[in-house]
Amino acid sequence: MYSASDLRKGLKVQIDGEPYIITEFEFSKPGKGQALYRTKMRNMITGNQFTQTYRSNDKFEKPDLEERTMQYLYSQGDEFHFMDTSSYEQIFITREQLGDNINFLVDNMEVQVLFFGDKPIDISLPIFVNLTVTRADPWVKGDTSGTDTKPVTVETGYRLQVPPFVEEGDKIQIDTRTGDYMTRVKE
């Protein structure tokens, strides 16, 4: 159990049977008055946000969350299949749950899958991934208005802006937090 004084930004708690992460937190207290714990939380399954003020004697369950290392296998329709690298157990996560993460998933990639009980609810990717450029138009100087970048498509279908020297077949490093090009990878 957590008590209100344990609350802080980033803490995960369970409310009404669902896991929440605290996204904003402020401790308030009139000098002679009650301690108030003002929070903004996000439901880790639905993404819904809400704000709530708690008191000193409020208590919270710890959510049963576990991170497991899994390997991405393949996708079938909207289902993305992963395998636990130690138990070989297989699970799938839907396209909707993965959101923008699908832009950076390639076969055999190792990711951290977050489970709430036995239900996978989120994945975290490596910060940097290397992806192969599958389509790059030749860059014509003066084509773009003052910006020295051009669009390319990588193997996952994700499109991004890169410097003009990147060519089809190159491997490039992408920051998965921002989706931005970092550097060209020599093999």
């Binding site: 401790f27 207290k29 000098g31």
Partner: protein, 306 residues
């Protein structure tokens, strides 16, 4: 950890505080910070020190000095309150507390105005002060020139909420509404005194003679931030014992240890009319410095101790 520049600014600020009170014939005192018994306050958690406690404020010892014959005293000291950590809170912080025998809370409001005006002038090079007489915060200038705004608690509830102070108290939502709906508006034109609290929220304050359901208590606000808390002190020892009994009962209900401060009550019987006030030194210095949070102006923040 403060830089040498920060240390110098903090030191100059505290020296200016001292100068103000010394020029007004206040005596600086230093009372013990480790005590066998504290004032029973159900909403303040003390830190244990062996079988004793670290002070949550110097009020108890300072009032005993007044009962012993001192008439104007001030103290700048560290106070300790468990589990108070936030943008405007630190579990160990610096308090300025001063008392003036013969005065009431209205006299103290006026002295408070003079203190902050003189202090701002003395510290006019700090980043949060403009022209030596305004506080600059969130791109707004708060004029320090007296008289400051005065607003009763009842008026504040009428202006900023759709409930009343007594209804909020009955629902146990007074502090929550104060913090979320009222405080953010207070003290942006000039600093503001919020005063005349419901009697049950001023267990050490004198009831108003013509309205005993109210306590002669005020809080000073500047830029939505609570800076100081002052009273016309309750000097009736029997009434004080009754108020303490209620606090002790609440504390025991929550499983907390609490004892009646008998020596204090014995001395209180000899105290004449007095007004007293506690001001958060770190918070005022934070405003003067234009700092975002208390941690930025403490010599060491809690995190920096590890």
């Amino acid at each position: 950890m403060l830089s040498p520049t920060g240390l110098k600014q903090r030191s100059d600020f505290i020296q200016s505080l001292r100068l103000f009170f010394r020029q007004r014939d206040y005596l600086e005192v230093d009372t013990p910070i480790r005590l066998p018994v504290l004032i029973p306050e159900s909403e303040i958690l003390p830190c244990a020190s062996g079988n004793w406690w670290l002070q949550t404020s110097p009020e108890l010892c300072m009032k005993r000095l007044l009962a012993g014959g001192a008439t104007r005293i001030f103290q700048i000291c560290h106070c300790f309150r468990r589990q108070e950590q936030g943008r405007l809170h630190a579990p160990e912080f610096t308090m300025l507390e001063w008392y003036h025998v013969g005065w009431d809370y209205l006299d103290l409001m006026r002295e408070c105005e003079q203190l902050v005006v003189e202090l701002a002038f003395a510290c006019s090079t700090l980043a949060g002060i403009t022209d030596g007489r305004n506080i600059l915060r969130d791109n707004r200038e708060v004029r320090l020139t007296p008289p400051w705004q005065r607003l009763t608690v009842d008026e504040a509830f009428a202006s900023y909420t759709d409930t009343t102070a007594s209804a909020a108290l009955a629902e146990d939502r007074f502090d929550e509404i104060l913090v979320t709906e009222i405080e953010p508006h207070l003290g942006w034109d000039r600093p503001l005194f919020l005063y005349d609290y419901p009697a049950q929220l001023g267990s050490l304050a004198r009831p108003k003679p013509d309205a005993p359901h109210l306590a002669e208590r005020f809080e000073l606000y500047c830029c939505g931030i609570e800076l100081a808390n002052g009273f016309s002190e309750l000097v009736d020892a029997d009434q004080q014992r009754l108020r303490f009994s209620e606090e002790i009962a609440t504390m025991r209900k929550h499983g907390r240890a609490a004892a009646m401060p008998e020596t204090f009550l014995r001395d209180l019987a000899r105290l004449n009319d007095t007004a007293g006030i506690a001001l958060g030194v770190d918070r005022l210095f934070m405003l003067f410095s234009g700092a975002f949070c208390l941690d930025d102006v403490l010599t060491f923040s809690t995190d920096e101790l590890f």
